[in-house]
C-alpha cells in the first residue's frame, strides 16, 4: 500500500521560499503547518497521508535535529549524522512508493510547510535548490529518501548500514549518474560495498571515485549489471575499481601530492 503526500505547486512554493529565506528559525517555527490550501494530491495510487502522521513525522525529524544541534548552529559532522538518521527515518516510516517519491512537489511541501524551521537550519546558505526540488538530488529531504531507498537491504539485520559508507559529496557522484548507474539499487549497493573494501592508499578519494564511476559508465554501454547475481556483480565492480587504482598508481604518485605540488 502506498501513501500519497500533499504536493505544493511551484508558484506557491516560490512565494513561500522568497518569504521564508530571510526569516529566523524562531520566525519559521511560527509558520509550521500540516496543511496548505494550495496543496494537491495525485488522483490515484494510494491513500492520503493523515495529518496525524505528518505531525508524527515532524516530531521525529525535529528530535533528530535537536541531537544535531537544532535550532543552534551545528558542525558538518553533526549534519552528516542528521542526514543519515533522517534518510532512514523518511524511508522507514513514510510509506512512500518510489513513483510517489519521484514527485518533487511532495518534498517541497515537507520542506516549506511541515518543516520550514528544520529545512532552513539544515542549509544555512538557503539556496533555492535545497527547498524547491528543481533537482531531487539536491533537495533537503528528497535526496535523503532516495539515498536510503537505493542502499536499503530489506533482508539485512541492519538494512540501512550502507548509509554510513559515503558522505554527501561522494553519494552525489553516484546519484548524479542516476540514469546510468543510480537507478539500480543492486548496482548502487555493489558500488558502496566495493568502495568500502578497497584500500585507497592515500589517493585523492574524490578523483578516484569519479574515475571508478566513469569506468562503470563506459562498461554499462555493453554490460547489463542487473543480470548478474551479487557475487558476480561485485567481482565486476571490483575489477573496475582495481583498474582505477592501477591507473592512479601508474601515474607514479598520489593525486593529492600532485595537487599540493601545484599550489
Amino acid at each position: 500500500m502506498s501513501v500519497l503526500f500533499p504536493r505544493l505547486l511551484p508558484r506557491q512554493a516560490h512565494k513561500l521560499y522568497e518569504e521564508y529565506k530571510s526569516l529566523t528559525i524562531e520566525e519559521l517555527e511560527l509558520r509550521i503547518a500540516l496543511r496548505h490550501d494550495s496543496a494537491v494530491y495525485a488522483a490515484t495510487g494510494g491513500d492520503r497521508v493523515r495529518e496525524k502522521d505528518l505531525d508524527q513525522l515532524r516530531q521525529a525529524i525535529v528530535a533528530v535535529a535537536r541531537v544535531a544541534g537544532f535550532p543552534n548552529r551545528s558542525t558538518p559532522a553533526t549534519k552528516n549524522d542528521f542526514d543519515r538518521n533522517v534518510a532512514e527515518l523518511l524511508h522507514r516510516t513514510t510509506g512512500l512508493a518510489p513513483a510517489e517519491a519521484a514527485a518533487r512537489d511532495i518534498w517541497v511541501f515537507l520542506a516549506l510547510v511541515v518543516l520550514p524551521d528544520v529545512s532552513f537550519w539544515r542549509f544555512e546558505k538557503r539556496t533555492d535548490e535545497r527547498f524547491l526540488a528543481k533537482d531531487l538530488t539536491r533537495h533537503v529531504f528528497g535526496r535523503l529518501w532516495w539515498r536510503a531507498h537505493l542502499v536499503h537491504e530489506p533482508d539485512s539485520t541492519d538494512p540501512y548500514a550502507a548509509l554510513s559508507i559515503l558522505g554527501e559529496g561522494a553519494f552525489d557522484q553516484i546519484y548524479a549518474r542516476r540514469r546510468a548507474l543510480g537507478g539500480s539499487p543492486q548496482l548502487v549497493r555493489s558500488i558502496l560495498h566495493v568502495w568500502h573494501e578497497i584500500d585507497t592508499g592515500g589517493l585523492n578519494e574524490t578523483d578516484l571515485l569519479k574515475d571508478f564511476l566513469k569506468r562503470l559508465l563506459r562498461l554499462g554501454a555493453f554490460m547489463s549489471f542487473e543480470t548478474l547475481h551479487d557475487e558476480q556483480l561485485n567481482a565486476e565492480v571490483r575489477r573496475a575499481a582495481q583498474d582505477s587504482l592501477h591507473a592512479f598508481d601508474a601515474e607514479g604518485r598520489p593525486r593529492h601530492a600532485l595537487e599540493y605540488a601545484r599550489d
Binding site: 494550495s38 488522483a43 490515484t44 518533487r104 537507478g183
Partner: protein, 298 residues
C-alpha cells in the same frame, strides 16, 4: 540505454527467438498491451515471456567455450520511479536448444510511467578461455530486446490531481491547468501535473472514466488532450534553451517535448515553428489542432 559496437562478438539475431510478453491476470495470460490504462501503484504486474535460445549457435558466433556460463534475464525499468532491477535470471545449459520461460512479479509500488522490459542474454561469469574476440566480462550483453508499456494509460499521460481551483491561485471557473516544473532534464513523471478543477463535474467524470469513456467523456478527453498538447508545444517553443538536437535523457521533459514536436510537426525545425507561431499564432493553433487530430478516435 542504446548499445553501441561492443568490443566483442555478439550472438546472431536468429540465435534467440522471443515470444510476446504476457500479462497474467488471475493466472490467465494475455498479451501485454502497450498501455495499461487501469494500472495504479497498488497493482503488481505478473509477466511472462517464452524465449528459445540456440546455445550452440550463440557459442559458435561469440567464440565462447562450452564452459562459459550464459544467463537469460529480464530487466525492468520504470520511468516514473527511475528504478531498474532484475526479474528472472535463468542459467542456460552448456549446449543444445534451450526453451526458457522468463517470469517476473513486478511490485506496483516501484513502478510508474513507462515500463521498459529488457530481455537480455549475457555472459554470466568472467571468462578468459574464449576466442580472441569473445566477451570476457560477466554481464557482457550477447543479445537483447526491449519492449515498453505505458502504465496509467494514455489519458493520464502524467499524474492528475483533482482539486478545488478556488483554493489555488488559478481562476475558480477554469477547467484545468498544466503544471510544468523543473528544467528540461527533469523526469517527466515527477515534473508534470494536470490539475483538474473539481467544480467541473463533467471534467472530473471524464477523467474517472478514461479507461472506459462514454461518448461525452471522449469529447471532453479529446478537448483536454488537444489543449494539453498545445500548452506543451507552446512551452517548448517559448523556452529558448529547448533544442531538438540535445540529448535530455529518456523520459525527461526535454525528450517528451522533442517527441511531441516530432510527432506533430515531423521534419520541421524549431526556428521555423517559432517563426510560424510568432507570425500567426491563431493559424499555428489551428495547425496544432489538426496535428493532434482533435475529436478523432485514436
Amino acid at each position: 540505454m542504446s548499445m553501441q559496437a561492443p568490443p566483442y562478438r555478439m550472438a546472431p539475431t536468429g540465435s534467440v527467438v522471443a515470444g510476446p510478453w504476457q500479462w497474467l491476470i488471475d493466472d490467465v495470460p494475455g498479451e501485454l498491451p502497450d498501455a495499461l490504462s487501469d494500472w495504479d501503484y497498488r497493482m503488481d504486474l505478473s509477466l511472462r515471456r517464452s524465449v528459445t535460445v540456440d546455445v550452440d549457435l550463440v557459442r559458435q558466433a561469440t567464440g565462447l567455450s562450452a564452459a562459459a556460463k550464459l544467463t537469460l534475464a529480464m530487466i525492468w525499468t520504470a520511468s516514473g520511479s527511475g528504478l531498474k532491477a532484475a526479474g528472472d535470471r535463468i542459467s542456460l545449459p552448456e549446449t543444445g536448444i534451450a526453451n526458457v520461460d522468463l517470469a517476473a512479479l513486478l511490485p506496483g509500488n516501484q513502478l510508474g510511467g513507462v515500463l521498459g522490459l529488457e530481455t537480455t542474454l549475457v555472459l554470466a561469469e568472467y571468462s578468459e578461455d574464449g576466442d580472441l574476440a569473445s566477451p570476457r566480462r560477466a554481464g557482457s550483453i550477447l543479445w537483447t530486446s526491449k519492449y515498453e508499456t505505458r502504465l496509467q494509460g494514455d489519458a493520464p499521460l502524467f499524474p492528475i490531481a483533482v482539486v478545488d481551483f478556488a483554493k489555488t491561485q488559478y481562476p475558480e471557473d477554469a477547467g484545468w491547468h498544466v503544471e510544468i516544473g523543473g528544467d528540461l532534464e527533469t523526469a517527466t513523471m515527477g515534473a508534470l501535473l494536470l490539475l483538474v478543477n473539481e467544480r467541473k463535474q463533467v471534467l472530473v467524470d471524464a477523467m474517472r472514466s478514461a479507461a472506459k469513456p462514454r461518448p461525452v467523456d471522449r469529447v471532453v478527453l479529446s478537448t483536454v488532450h488537444a489543449d494539453v498538447a498545445r500548452t506543451l508545444v507552446e512551452y517548448a517553443l517559448h523556452d529558448q534553451d529547448f533544442s531538438l538536437e540535445v540529448d535530455y535523457g529518456d523520459e525527461t521533459i526535454g525528450s517528451t517535448l522533442q517527441a511531441l514536436i516530432g510527432r506533430f510537426f515531423p521534419g520541421q525545425s524549431l526556428t521555423h515553428l517559432r517563426r510560424r507561431q510568432g507570425q500567426s499564432p491563431t493559424a499555428f493553433a489551428t495547425e496544432l489542432q489538426h496535428a493532434v487530430r482533435i475529436f478523432e478516435e485514436s
